[in-house]
Each structure stands twice: as C-alpha cells, then as structure tokens.
C-alpha cells in the first residue's frame, strides 16, 4: 500500500524536472519545414516587378545550387537582412526571391532603396509557394541544390554570422 503514496511525489518531481529544464532553454518559436531533404514542390510564379522574369520550380533543376529567399517589402527584418543578402551575392551565391503578398511598386521601391541581390523575383500573392515549401514566415532562406532538392532552411533574417554558414551549405549542395 505505502509505495502508492509516493506516486504523487514522483509525478510532481517529474514535472519540476521538466519545468526546470525548460526554464533554462531559450524560447524559440521556430517551426521547421519538413520539406528539407525533399524535392522542391512544383510551382510557377509571375514576376514580382514589372518587366521582371517569372520563376518556376523547374528553373532550379539546372545544375546550379541557389538560395531561395522568401521575403516581402512590408517586412521590417527583411530590410535588416538586405545588406547580408548582397554580400552573399558578391561571394557568388545566386539568389532567387519570392515576394509574399506584395505589390510591384512596393517591391520596386524596396529594391531601389535597399539593393537588389536577386536574379529573379516571383510574386506569391496567396502565400501558395510559401505553404508548399513549409515556410512559416518572412524572411526565410532555403538552399536548393542543382537537382532542385531543398537542402537547408534558414529561419529569420540573415545576420552577419549566418553568411558563412549559408555559403558553406551552398558549397555542400554542389556549388
């Protein structure tokens, strides 16, 4: 009989252990995409700026690894990451953008103000491609290898220390 009286204390100790552990962990709200390691889902998007180029999933399977940057002109962290995207481009990364819920004139203004590291930008008004590749916010950056496979996902804006990581991931993807 008496061992049963210890059960509540044991359960409670388990809770305290879990709570204490979680208190020491940094709280992140990151939802990782399950599509990493899988083929880029099929999509075709119209250009996000006038006289720009449209993009499609087929473009990625041409042997060149690329960065796929999900962003928007209305997103404040995207301004913060713009210089680092440009640096990535200068280091030889090819960057394709997808603008989420954005207007061509706003995109053009953003590019004029903060620079344009993109080879092409697609326009995703319904967050369709964003949902297809399991991205849960802006900005996010995916590494796509030359066969059109998603290799890596970076969540949040790109900080200076992320640039070498992304370059390394690109290199691993065959650049």
């Amino acid at each position: 009989m008496s061992w049963r009286l210890w059960i509540p204390l044991m359960v409670f100790a388990g809770f305290i252990g879990l709570a204490a552990y979680q208190l020491t962990q940094p709280k992140d709200d990151i939802v990782e995409s399950r599509m990493v390691g899988q083929e880029l889902p099929y999509f075709e998007l119209p250009p996000a700026v006038e006289r720009g180029e449209s993009i499609s999933s087929a473009d990625f399977a041409d042997g060149t690894p690329r960065l796929l940057n999900i962003w928007a002109s209305w997103c404040l962290p995207c301004i913060a990451e713009a210089p680092h995207l440009e640096r990535l481009q200068r280091e030889g990364a090819e960057i394709v953008g997808i603008a989420i819920r954005d207007r061509p004139e706003d995109v053009a203004q953003f590019l004029a103000q903060h620079g344009n590291p993109y080879t092409a930008i697609g326009r995703d008004d319904l967050s369709q491609v964003q949902l297809e590749i399991g991205s849960s916010g802006v900005p996010e950056t995916f590494v796509i290898d030359g066969e059109g496979m998603i290799r890596y996902q970076h969540i949040g804006d790109i900080r200076p220390e992320d640039v070498p990581i992304l370059l390394e991931e690109l290199r691993k993807a065959g650049a």
Binding site: L5, F12, L18, L23
Partner: protein, 659 residues
C-alpha cells in the same frame, strides 16, 4: 513617503509571518500548553492588518499617480480614468503578487480570529503552514518584485495606457481568480496542519469546507467571466480554446470541485480521509502550477507577456518547497491515517467517490494535454494539442460523471438499495434516451453535442429530484445550493452543446443597402462610417438586423485602429434574445465599396455563462448554509456546556447538602 510606509509594513508583515511559522511549528512539537503558542494567533492577525495597509498604500500611489514609483510609472498614466488607475494596481506582476499576499494574510487572520473548532495543536500547525507559504511569497515580493521601488528620476506621464486592459471586466477578472487561488491555499494549510498532527476528522473537513467553497465560487465566476470576455473581445465567436492560459485556470477549478465533494463526505460521514488530504494539496498545487506556467513563459501561449525567467525560477522554487514538501509529508504520514468509515457502492459516498475519480481523471487529461507540448519540445519535436483532443478524451470521463451526478444525490448515505429510487432512475433514463432518439431523428448532429444535449435535458429534471416529496421550506440552504449548482452545470452544458451543434456562420462582403441571412436573421448593412475615439479611429458598420418578422435592431460593430501602440482590434456587436445571440463583426474593405461581414447565429449560447453564474450562486447558497449550520451548532454546544456547568454546580451543592 507613502511608498516607504508601504514597504516598511510589508517587511514587518514578513517578519511576523516568520514568527508565526516558527512559533507554530515549535508549538506543534512542544504539544499542548507551550507558551510560545500564545504568539501565533496575534501574529497572524497583525500580519493581516499590516499587509492590508501595505496594499492600501499601493492603491493610494496609483490613485494619485505618483510617478516617482517605478511600478506606477510603468503601468499607469496621468490621463487614465480613476477606476482604471486603481485597477492598474493589480494589472501587473508586482501589484498582483501584493494582492495575492494581502488576500492570503487576510484569510490567515480570519482563521486565527474565528476558527476554534479544531484541536489547538492542529490549529498551530495550520497557521504555521499558512505562515510558511506566506513567507515564501513575501520573499518573492521583497527580494525580486518590490512594488514600491522608486525611480531615480520621476517619470513625466507614465507609460501604460493599454486600451485593451481598460475594460471593467478585465479590471475585476484577475482579482476574482486570485481570491480563488488564495482560498485554496487556506485549504492547503488545513490539509498540512491535519497531516502534521494526524488529526483528519469531520471537524477538519467542516473547518476547511467554507474556504474551499468560497475559492470555488470565485474560480467559477473568474472562469465564466474570462470565457465571456474571450467570446466578445476576440471577434471570432469562440468561447473556449483550450489554450494553456485557459487550462491554467480550469485545473484548479477541477481540483477544487473534487475537493469540495470529498470534503463533504468527510464532514458528514468521516470517510475518504487520505483522499481529501491529497486533494487539498493537489488543488493548491494546481493554482501554483497555473501561476508558474503563465508567468514563467515556458508555454507558447504566454511568450508575448513580459515574462522573466527569474520570476519563473522563484515560483518554481516555492512550488518545489511547498508542494514537494507537502507530498513528501503525505507519503510519509498518509498510511498512519486510517481510511475512515466504509460504505457500499450504491450509497451517496459511492457516487461521490465515482465523481471524484472522474474529476481527477479529467484533471489529469487537461494537465497532460497542456504539458505534453512542453515535454516533446525537450526532445526538439513540436506538437499541438487542441480541442479535437481535449473534447472527446475529456468526454470519456465527463459523460459517465454526469450520469452519476444525476443519480448520486438521490442515494442515502452508507448504503442504499437501487430499487428504492427505481422510478426516478427510470424517468432519468427515459428522458435521456428519448432526447437522443428525437434529436438524432430530427436534426443532423455530431455525437458529442448530441450526448451533451440529451444529458443536459435529462439532468435538468434530475437535478431537482433531490427536492421531491420534501417540504420546500424545510430544505436546508446547503441542499438548495447543491441542487442549484448541479442545475447550473446542466444549463451550461446545454449552452455548450447547442452552440456547437446549431451555430450558423455567414461570411459575406456587402455594400451599403445589401442584406444577408444567417439562421432566422436578416441583416442589412445600412452604412459604413468612420468614428474616432480618444486614442483610436475605427470604421463602424451600421447594421439593421431583423429576427424573422420582428422589429429590426441596430448593431454597430467596429474595426478599430489604435495608434499608440499601433494595433487593430475588432469590436463585435451582439444582439441577445432569449433563445440565442446574433454576433456581428465588420472586417476589411473588400473592394468596390463592399465590406467584409462575419455573422453568427448562436442558439442558446448565453446559457453557457448563465450556467456559470447559477453554479456560483449554488456555491454561495451552500456556503451560507454551512456557515449558518456551524454557527447554530456552536451556539448549541455553548448552551450544552453552560447547562452542564450549571448542573455540575447544582450537583456539587446537592452533594454538600447530602454531607
């Protein structure tokens, strides 16, 4: 100066709590007649006065908006209306903790002043435990959350003018829940006191019961108000989301409900001793775990609140000490406490045990579902647990419990024959079965709402059956309270089931002059106009809504944009009838002069909250009944004592005569 006075009073109160604790536990060791025991009750009462004074000082600081105090500067604003300045006192972490210890110390003072039923040693242990719990919270306040901290340079205006918090419901909602939490802390102290002195008696249950009932009434009201607030304020017509923050307030309620029922078995029948003690500990631990989950920010729901890991750590340490200590004591002591009187399955006690076990199981499921995402996160896997889990899994235990709730009060204590209440059982079963058959034939309805409605209809009758063939005037208030509380559960259940089964939703884009129908309502968008408030602008829709052929009513939902801080809120507009509510929300422009409207017709949805109020009312009646009973009993005992001493005096005289 005011702030310093408040702080000094708080330190003094903390010192008295320490004295109360030490004196309490020393007296328990020394046994009856220890001299130090004389200190305990005065220390407890004085402590109550001092904290009340300290809290009054903080109220005063908020009332005059003393901007040299950090807490006031951070949470108030010179231009706030007075009522919201005052409610700002507890609308923040430090102030709410001060309110918490104030209520706790006041409760301690009250027990010290009026409770003389229990053996003195048990009272020393109880007050000692109460002092120890209070001491931890004083430490928390004084060491890491000092509400009276001064700013080196006074602020000019003050920061806080959060428009969402300037709502009368929200001003009163948090203290309501606090009163509930703190009431459970008193039950906890009683349980620890009884465990320490091994005196788990019906008197102990009677002493504890009013506190549990009071706490339970406050929790019921707090949850009901919170649910209604979420319903009209969040703008999507939902009234319960199984959000971790909501679960944190539901869990103490479930535990308190179980405790209430097992305490009444102990009080009337001297059975379920260890179980009642266990629930006393569990109920308070749920209050503390809830507070911890909400303040520490370890659950996703609360990440946005200005949480502080230090606070979380502090609460966790207190939680470990008190609850861990009490559970350890329980494990060591409980087997020396006998089970109490036995009873048969078909008895009032049997039904109450069933109810207790079911409530505990529901509590376990809510706790599991709330903590599970936290557990998997430790292994880097993120999962969500929501309504599709809680509703059916909870129902597995809730539905059988409801059946027993309908029958249990009809049974006699100790032992009863089911065939004695054959006709009542038959009526109850017939009602439920008839409702199930009729409803499933007449309407298309999912399983859970169907069961909910059928049970609700059956129980609505069954909950009044305990009154049958009795003279209504001679039924004790406590029985009326039980009947009313059970009926309240029924009312709320019907509301929930009906909302879930019969709600109709209509999303439309209308331009001025166009109409839409939702359920029996025809809603016409008359106009959309801009309106401005003190710190917001809004577009306001003027809707005329007509129920069937009756006179139209005007509704004015708004979509507000605040500019400091910039945020958007929706102000829903409601039209309430006896048989339900029309719920209207205006959204964004949809192009070509049209506006998005969201309309819901929710039949009998208001029963959910009326039910909550009826439950609380039942609790109040039961509380009054028990307190009156105790007073009467005390009076009778005093009369008996007087009689006895008179007789003895007479006896002595007559003896002398005989000599």
């Amino acid at each position: 100066m005011i702030a310093e006075l408040g702080l000094a009073a708080l330190w003094l109160a903390a010192a008295l709590a320490a004295l109360q604790t030490v004196a309490g536990f020393l007296s328990v060791r020394a046994g009856q007649g220890a001299e130090i025991a004389a200190l305990i009750r005065p220390a407890s009462m004085m402590q109550g006065l001092l904290v009340a004074f300290s809290f009054a000082m903080l109220l005063w600081l908020f009332a005059i908006t003393d901007l040299s105090v950090k807490l006031v500067a951070a949470n108030s604003h010179v231009d706030k209306p007075l009522i919201y300045k005052l409610s700002g006192t507890w609308g923040n972490h430090e102030g709410s903790m001060l309110l918490w210890v104030t209520v706790m110390a006041a409760a301690g003072a009250l027990i010290a002043a009026v409770e003389h039923r229990l053996p003195e040693r048990t009272m020393y242990a109880t007050l000692g435990a109460q002092g120890l719990v209070a001491l931890g919270f004083y430490g928390f306040l004084l060491l890491s959350s000092n509400p009276f901290e001064r700013l080196p340079v006074p602020a000019l205006q003050g920061m806080g003018l959060n428009p969402l918090l300037q709502d009368i419901g929200l001003a009163l909602h948090p203290p309501t829940l606090y009163f509930g939490y703190v009431g459970l802390s008193v039950a906890f102290s009683f349980a620890v006191g009884a465990l320490l002195t091994r005196s788990v008696t019906p008197d102990f249950a009677r002493a504890m019961r009013p506190w549990v009932l009071g706490a339970w009434v406050f929790l019921t009201l707090g949850i009901t108000a919170g649910s209604y607030w979420a319903y009209y304020e969040l703008g999507w017509g939902g009234w319960w989301f199984w959000d971790p923050v909501e679960n944190a307030s539901l869990m103490p309620w479930l535990a308190a409900t179980a405790l209430l029922h097992s305490a009444s078995v102990l009080a009337s029948r001297d059975a379920l001793r260890t179980w009642t003690i266990m629930l006393g500990v569990v109920a308070f631990s749920m209050s503390m775990i809830g507070t911890f989950l909400v303040r520490s920010g370890i659950l996703t729901s609360v990440h946005a609140f200005a949480v502080d890991p230090e606070r979380g750590t502090f609460i966790l340490v207190l939680l470990t000490l008190y609850i861990g200590g009490a559970l350890l004591l329980f494990a060591l002591r409980a087997n020396t406490i006998s089970e109490g009187k036995r009873f048969s399955v078909t008895s009032r006690e049997g039904a109450l045990v069933f109810n207790n076990v079911m409530l505990s199981a529901i509590l376990a499921i809510v706790l599991l579902g709330t903590l599970y995402p936290l557990l998997t996160e430790a292994f880097n896997v993120r999962v969500s647990v929501g309504p599709p889990y809680f509703n059916p899994v909870g129902a597995i235990f809730f539905m059988p419990m409801l059946l027993v709730m309908g029958v249990g009060p009809l049974l006699r204590w100790r032992e009863d024959r089911p065939d004695r209440i054959r006709s009542e059982l038959a009526l109850f079963a017939a009602l439920i079965i008839a409702a199930i058959v009729l409803l499933s034939l007449l309407v298309e309805i999912a399983l859970l709402p169907l069961l909910g409605l059928a049970m609700g209809l059956g129980l609505a009758v069954a909950s009044f059956m305990p009154l049958r063939s009795r003279q209504l005037g001679r039924i004790p208030a406590a029985t009326w309270g039980m009947v009313l509380a059970h009926f309240g559960i029924t009312v709320a259940l019907i509301g929930m089931a009906s909302e879930s089964a019969f709600s109709e939703e209509e999303l439309v884009a209308l331009s001025a002059g166009e109409s839409a129908t939702v359920g029996p309502w025809t809603v016409t968008l008359e106009a959309v106009e801009p309106v401005a408030g003190p710190n917001w602008t809004a577009i306001q829709g003027r809707l005329s809504a007509r129920y069937g052929d009756s006179e139209p009513v005007v509704l004015a939902p708004q979509a507000r944009s605040f500019w400091a801080p910039p945020q958007q809120t929706t102000e829903s507009a409601l039209s309430t009838r006896w048989n339900g509510q029309l719920y209207a929300v205006i959204g964004d422009p949809a192009g070509e002069g049209r506006f998005q409207l969201r309309l819901w017709w929710k039949p009998f949805v208001t029963l959910i909250w009326y039910g909550g109020v009826v439950i609380a009312l039942g609790g109040v009646l039961a509380l009054i009944g028990h307190v009156l009973n105790d007073l009467r009993r005390r009076h009778r005992e005093r009369r008996l004592d007087e009689q006895r001493s008179e007789e003895e005096a007479l006896g002595i005289l007559s003896g002398e005569e005989r000599l």
